[in-house]
């Protein structure tokens, strides 16, 4: 337990100290690179804003991610069970995923003008469903036929086979993809928050820091984003342990 929390914590502290030293040794001014000791005043000064905007970013990311999970699993199921659908949908999905989302952001922003929440959630969703869909479809399509036969020979329906075998067996791959998707969803949310005029969330706070040349604020936002990202990542790790802990091999 000490090791699990202490080691990562120590690593973060060491990182902050090195950062401070680097800025101090080079004598960089704030507009070049703020140092950690400049960030605390920024955090403190805007503490209320950080809480409010952090919450905005967090809930929209989580909702977008939730959508990505639902749509990703459904798409993955369709592609995993039907070869025809897999062959039909893969090129479309790959093409869609290849489009840089930074170019989609203004399009979405124009499509639903003024609906900032919807836009943000949409981008978070669009950027993060792909890994989930692919992992679920691969997990299902590579299920050994014997697993299916064990239940099918007893007269089990496809739905039963999905719940009892296919889904649990795919969970480790699913959580692997979810860890990637969490980070992606954050990127999506922030893209929209930064780009939207009158946006909300940490991205908008970053943008206002930029406008006012408040460099410590900008860096403080980056740190807050990192902290949120880490927190959400570990939520996924916790869920993974709970639901797919069996996939961890006993240590030798």
């Amino acid at each position: 337990m000490i090791r699990k929390i202490g080691v990562p914590l120590a690593a973060i502290v060491i990182f902050l100290i090195l950062w401070e030293l680097l800025v101090w040794a080079n004598g960089w001014p704030n507009y070049k690179m703020a140092s950690p000791s400049d960030l605390w005043p920024a955090f403190w000064q805007y503490r209320e804003l950080f809480l409010i905007q952090g919450w905005e970013t967090l809930w929209r990311t989580v909702v977008g991610l939730g959508l990505a999970v639902i749509v990703g699993i459904l798409l993955g199921m369709v592609m995993g069970f039907s070869r025809t659908m897999r062959e039909a949908l893969y090129p479309l999905l790959v093409g869609f995923n290849a489009i840089p989302k930074a170019t989609v952001v203004p399009i979405i922003a124009l499509m639903f003008v003024g609906q900032h929440d919807l836009n943000t959630i949409l981008i978070a969703f669009m950027i993060s469903f792909f890994p989930i869909a692919v992992s679920v479809s691969i997990g299902l399509s590579t299920l050994e036929p014997e697993y299916r036969d064990i239940l099918r020979s007893l007269g089990a329906s496809n739905l039963t086979i999905f719940w009892k075998i296919a889904l649990p067996k795919t969970l480790p791959e699913f959580f692997g993809a979810l860890k990637v998707s969490v980070t992606l969803a954050f990127i999506g949310t922030n893209l929209m928050e930064i780009v939207s005029p009158h946006g909300r969330g940490l991205g908008a706070l970053f943008d206002s820091g930029k406008t006012n040349a408040d460099f410590p604020l900008m860096f403080a936002v980056l740190l807050a984003l990192a902290a949120l990202g880490i927190a959400l990542y570990y939520v996924v790790v916790f869920l993974e342990r709970t639901f797919a802990g069996w996939a961890e091999r006993p240590e030798h």
């Binding site: 050994e144 014997e146 036969d149 064990i150 239940l151 020979s153 007893l154 007269g155 067996k169 006993p250």
Partner: protein, 262 residues
Amino acid sequence: MSSEALIDIKGVTHAYKTKSGPLPVLDDLNVSVKEGGFVAVVGPSGCGKSTLTRLIAGLMKPNEGEVWLHGARVTSPRSTVGMAFQNPVLLEWRSILDNVILPLEIVPTKLSRKEKEARAEELLALVGLEGFESKRPSELSGGMRQRASLCRALVHKPDVLILDEPFGALDAFTREDLWQTMHALKAKEPFTGVLITHDLRESIFLADEVVVLSGRPATTQYRLPVAFEGARTIDHLYTPEAAEMLNVLRHQIEIAQGRVAA
């Protein structure tokens, strides 16, 4: 009743559709197993033995011919069948006990959860897995996993047991242990069985009839009734009768492989 065949495969012909046209796998195959009987099926690799098991289980329909179980024509899977494969396919996220219980969650049953557990525990004890109920499959050896897989195949008291090379991946000693376990199971849990195997000694040790299939497309090439006096022990495999039977079977396999003329 006893003379009537419980498993009856009548003139079954089957071909797979492949990219390069139809691949004939079974050709006018006839096999019948009477109630309580245990038939071993041997034949060259790739001749269609696993296909045969899938047809008996109702997982596929033959192009021609009929499969009958218990006087009813098989057109779809039925819950009175138990299956085990070379790969034990245990579910890693379930304990051994819950793996064995799995079929009882599928087939209609009036058993309570307690009774299901008791049934699974009874079988696990019978195959020597007492005390391993709460272990995960990954904590068991290959032979133990296969034992658990056999329990799962039998837990819902199927009247037909289909085994597709269940001992194929095990070492020789473990395999002989499991042969004994099979006899113990058969004494306690009456079933009618079909065993696919590549091991001729296994076929005569376990079965009361050995069917040799020809090369692909497979048809029934030879039948060998197996009879030993008294309860079977490994020692029986070292008697002159056994040597004679093994010789005949080996010769038949060579014919099936096309290595010698009939």
